[in-house]
Every structure is written in structure tokens, then in C-alpha cells.
Symmetry: C2
Subunit: 356 residues, 2 copies
């Protein structure tokens, strides 16, 4: 590489422009407070040297890193990705997201919290509210805003933006019960040392509770495999379910991703959805909207969670110690009935195999 042996510093710029480093710093931070001529000279020097300010040094000096830490279960779930994008968009270009993922492992979360806190973020956003003792202690002592998202912990460590997964599960069950189903199943993942999707588990528990409230058995509320769930997870779970309970009428999957896999498994077995089995998902992923028939789901606005969190953080950062923003923000959920739980197809099904 023909690059210079060393990155130019602010000192180099100041020398070239014939000013102090202070003035360079000012031009970069707030150009308006410097005379036009000086500003021009400084910017020319910056341009000429290809100077890129060192924010590591700047952060140490100003005690502001403009980092926001974000801990998610996976990087490949588009719903969490939507939350991340929403957060990034609201925070704007002056903040840099420090993203880590846990794969639903609580020990990994602890490691990540420690690693991120050592970067001195201005706030830490974390999916979930079940943490190790050490994690909880670190978060409590961090002296920065902590936002637990995708849940409604009571009380949260500091702040929370999300919704009740338990209530989401209840709503799911009621939707299927109201449709007249009686032999109702649910599929989620195992909660153990390898991985634990506590939010999915809360949905299953809310679901089971609603079944019992309606006088129905909850023996078909199943945990299969480990989080993160996949299309394949749903297919496998549905295959198991069909063997175990041939009389099942409706299935709730803890994710649209699982739901889609379950529907495909039904198709492979020649079982009509919703005619033979109704399927309800969770999350309102794009896949569910575009699938034919479209997947009924419990809608949660993933992007709004990120945006709302961003707004909350900006309020907290800007706060001139007026009234502090609220502790809990519930973005709510709603059940969206679509094709896969229709009592009969909304429109006549296409013939299959269809001909042109």
C-alpha cells in the first residue's frame, strides 16, 4: 500500500493550517464559532492530509463515546434486524451501534454485557429481561440508561420498550378458541442450559393459561428443539405433532418462521391449511404476509420497538433534568387473522396442481 506510514493527527492539521489544535477541534465540532478564513484554512488542511479525527481519543477526552450497545439473540432474525434498523435510524448518524448476539445463551449475554460496558456506551439496549446475577449487577451499576426490549418486565432494571409475551400467547389462544377449535396445540423451543428463548416460553405459557381458562387441555403445548427456531424447526415440530395427535385442529407457533415451516410440512403431507389444520404464527414477518395462503399471526411492530427505544434514549440524553421519560412503554400486539386460520379460505383456493 502506498499509504503514509502514520495517520495524520490533529496536530499535523493544526501545523499545516498554522493554528492551534484547539482551533482545529472547534472547526470540526462547531464550524460556526471560528472565523471564516481560519475555518477555510483548517478544512483545506484536513482535506489535503485526508485527516480522519480519532474518536477513541475524542471519546476519552470528552467522556462521550456516542456508542449505544445493543444485545440481540441473533443477527439473522429479520424482526430483531428491524428493531436494530429502527433504533439506528432514530439515533441518527452521530451514534454508533455496538451490536452483539447471544444465540439465546445467558452466559454469552453476560460476556457480551461486560465486553460492551467496557466500551463505555451511553446506553445499553438488550432484548429480554432474564439475566444472570452478574449481568443484572453490571447493568444496575452501569450508571447509563438500560432498556430491556421485546418484553414487559415488571419492574425493569431501568427502562423497557416492548409488550407482554404472556398476553400475546393468551391472545393467540383466544383467537383459535373463538374460531371454534377445541383440540389446540402450540409449538415452541426448549428452555435449558444450551439456549433459552424466554419470550417464546412466556407466549407458550400465556397460551396454555388461556386454554385452561377455556376449560381446554394444554397437553399439546410442546417444546421441541432449541432456539433460534427456523423454518425447519416448524416443519419438524409439525411432523411430530401430527404423529402424536392426529386429531389436532389448530396450531400456534411461537414464530411466523416456525409457522411457515409447519404449513410446508402440512403441504408435503397433503393436509390443507386452514381446511385441515389452522395455523397461527407470531411476529408478523414479511414471509407471512406474502405466503399464499397468508399466515395469520400475532402482530408486533419490531421496527417500532427500535424507534421507540431510540426516541426514549434521545430524551434521556437530552434531558435537562426535567420530567424523566416513562419507565415502561408497551407497543402492544394485535392478532391478525389471515388465510391460515380462516374457517374456510377467504377466496376459493387455486386448483392444485394448477394448470396454466
Amino acid at each position: 500500500m502506498s499509504s503514509p506510514p502514520k495517520k495524520p493527527t490533529m496536530r499535523d492539521v493544526s501545523r499545516l493550517a498554522g493554528v492551534s489544535t484547539m482551533t482545529v477541534s472547534r472547526v470540526l465540532a462547531d464550524p460556526g464559532i471560528v472565523s471564516q478564513e481560519t475555518r477555510r484554512r483548517v478544512l483545506t488542511a484536513v482535506e489535503q492530509l485526508g485527516y480522519v479525527p480519532d474518536l477513541v481519543a475524542g471519546s476519552l477526552s470528552s467522556r462521550r463515546t456516542n456508542f449505544v450497545g445493543l444485545i440481540l439473540p441473533t443477527l439473522t432474525n429479520s424482526n430483531f434486524g428491524n428493531s436494530a434498523q429502527g433504533l439506528a435510524e432514530v439515533l441518527g448518524p452521530s451514534y454508533q451501534l455496538l451490536i452483539g448476539y447471544t444465540l439465546y445463551r445467558i452466559a454469552e449475554e453476560e460476556r457480551l454485557v461486560r465486553a460492551l460496558l467496557s466500551r463505555r456506551p451511553e446506553a445499553l439496549v438488550i432484548a429480554g429481561s432474564i439475566h444472570t446475577v452478574a449481568t443484572r449487577r453490571m447493568l444496575t451499576n452501569a450508571a447509563i440508561p438500560i432498556v430491556e426490549i421485546w418484553e414487559r418486565p415488571e419492574p425493569p432494571i431501568d427502562r423497557s420498550v416492548g409488550f407482554s409475551n404472556f398476553e400475546a400467547g393468551r391472545a393467540a389462544a383466544r383467537h383459535l378458541i373463538d374460531l371454534g377449535h377445541r383440540r389446540i396445540a402450540a409449538v415452541g423451543s426448549l428452555v435449558d442450559a444450551d439456549a433459552a428463548d424466554h419470550r417464546g416460553e412466556a407466549r407458550l405459557q400465556g397460551f396454555a393459561a388461556a386454554l385452561r381458562d377455556a376449560g381446554l387441555p394444554d397437553d399439546l403445548v410442546l417444546r421441541r428443539g432449541h432456539a433460534p427456531v427456523s423454518y425447519g424447526h416448524g416443519a419438524e415440530a409439525m411432523a411430530f405433532l401430527l404423529e402424536a395427535a392426529g386429531d389436532v385442529e389448530a396450531v400456534f407457533a411461537v414464530s411466523d418462521v416456525s409457522a411457515f415451516g409447519a404449513i410446508m410440512e402440512c403441504r408435503r403431507r397433503g393436509i390443507d391449511v386452514p381446511g385441515g389444520i389452522a395455523v397461527l404464527g407470531f411476529g408478523d414477518f414479511e414471509i407471512g404476509r406474502q405466503c399464499e395462503p397468508a399466515i395469520s399471526t400475532v402482530r408486533v411492530d419490531a421496527k417500532a420497538i427500535g424507534e421507540e427505544t431510540g426516541r426514549l434514549l434521545l430524551e434521556l440524553f437530552d434531558r435537562t433534568d426535567g420530567t424523566p421519560p416513562p419507565i415502561l412503554r408497551d407497543v402492544g400486539i394485535s392478532v391478525v387473522g389471515r388465510g391460515t386460520t380462516a374457517l374456510r379460505p377467504a377466496r376459493p383456493s387455486s386448483p392444485w396442481p394448477p394448470s396454466r
Copy 2:
């Protein structure tokens, strides 16, 4: 919050342990070189104060940030997410990914490169090889490893891990031609100031070139809408195509996501896939594998791109100035014929609407 007014510093720890800050630093960096008794005292103090080292200060001092910058088009595409996870896994816990996303906007990429470089990453990984002049200049002068991924630029700015999108497009076309199709279409996105998926465009160009090589017209190689493509994009593009060219026999979509949307649109219109129209995707997303019929695709190992990039970086970081690692790593592609391009369904289709 009942947290202490100020975060404890290494100085606080050293005082409590009755040693110098140097010794605290040593215990944290390399416990073995400190006597057992001293180590114990230091660790006790660390524990007691809940001390979390300040890596901002540490980075400035040691001139090692252990950051790796990563610039991706979107955070919600699971293939790029897989690359990010692969990279993170190989780099291990001592490196922190600094992720930014461009939404396929070249100006946003420039802003991000500047922002990330100011954090002094040890390396920068960037999807793509089409950059603004200013971006290219910054990358060239950065004096750190730069890895352009998901492409095969010749020459790359520094290093590259990926594959040829042009060749992927050619391979896609040949697959469809070999199957006996003659009226062949392709759908991608527009390349303009709003967004530009240059990799998808390269695939379309390779595809068109292969059609022409076979003496076939390339008038159905279409650009519709803007990247990032979605399930809806594929559905819309297929709807347009069916209106524009009722005689189309096969379609290549620049992404499995688009391909899935296209297949659903066919289903809504009662057109059998592959009986009526063959559909070939790109990327080998899980959705394609689980879909029924499974989506034929051009497979690219997204996670391997991330892992390979991680290994390359570790080699570059560790390098004791021996032989430098290679410039280009091509992970290759392969065409995976599955249900949606089968000349006839691999197994008899289920009756539709199926009955239980």
C-alpha cells in the same frame, strides 16, 4: 438508581489492593506474570468495586481497539446476517464488530466508512466493491486491512472474499437453458441514485450475456423497484412479467426472497411452478430449502464468506511479516436444482386443495 456517582477506575482498584495501576493492568492483561498473592488481592478489589476496565482509554494507550468494522447493505437480510455471525465467531470474543448498514446507498456508505474509520478499527470489511471516489480514497489510505466481500473485484482495494456475481448469473442462465427453456426472464432491481444493488445487477448482466451466447433474446431481463428486494418485490415483478410476456417459461430472480414472492404470485394466479413456469432463485436462503416445492437456487455460502474473512483477518493481525495471505479468496457458487425448476415435480404433487 442507587449506583455510585462515578465508575471506579483502575486507580481505585490499585489503591484498594495496595498496588500500582501497572500491576492491576498486568493482572487483567496477563495474570500469569504477577505473583499469586498480588493477583488475588487485585482480583478481590476488582470484584468488590465491580470494576469494568475502560477500553476507550486502553485502546488509546495501546493503539489497539480490537474493533473490526463491517458495512452491510441491510441488517435484515439473513444471508448478510450469516456472514456477520460467521465473522464474529471466527474473530472470537476479543474483537468487537462495528456494524453499519447502507440500504444500498453509496453516499450512506461513504458516511459510514468515515464514521467507522474514526473509531480506529483494526480492519474494515465491506460488502461490495463499487464505492465513491472519496470512499475509495479513505479505504486506500486507511493503513488497515480492507476486505471487500460478496464480490470478486479485480483488483480489490486490498483483499477480497467472495465470488463472481456475473458468473453466478451465467450459471443461472445455463441451468435454465439446459432444462430446455427458451423464453427466459430475469428480475432484479433498478440501479440508480436511490439505491443500487451492484451485485444483483452483475448477476443480471451475466445472465443476459449467457442468454445471448445461447442465441436467445435478453429482452425479459428486467429491473423493477429498488433494493433491498423483498418477498413483495418478487410478487410484483412476477405480476408485471406475466402481463408483459404471457409466453415466459422460466424466471431467474436475483434473490431467493424475490423468487419466493414470485412463486406465491404464481400460486395466487393458479400457475403451477414448475409445471407452468420454472423459477430459479439466488442465495440458498433457508426459505427456499423449506418451501414446498423447494426453490432451485444458486447457492452461495454466506456464513463461509464471514468465516473466511475472519480467518484472513486473524492471519493478517498475527502476521510476523512472513508470507502475506492471498489477495483474493473465491468461495465459489453452485447451482442447486430443486423443485421449482424440475421438469416435472420430483415427487407427485399433493392434491390441491388437499383433504385430510
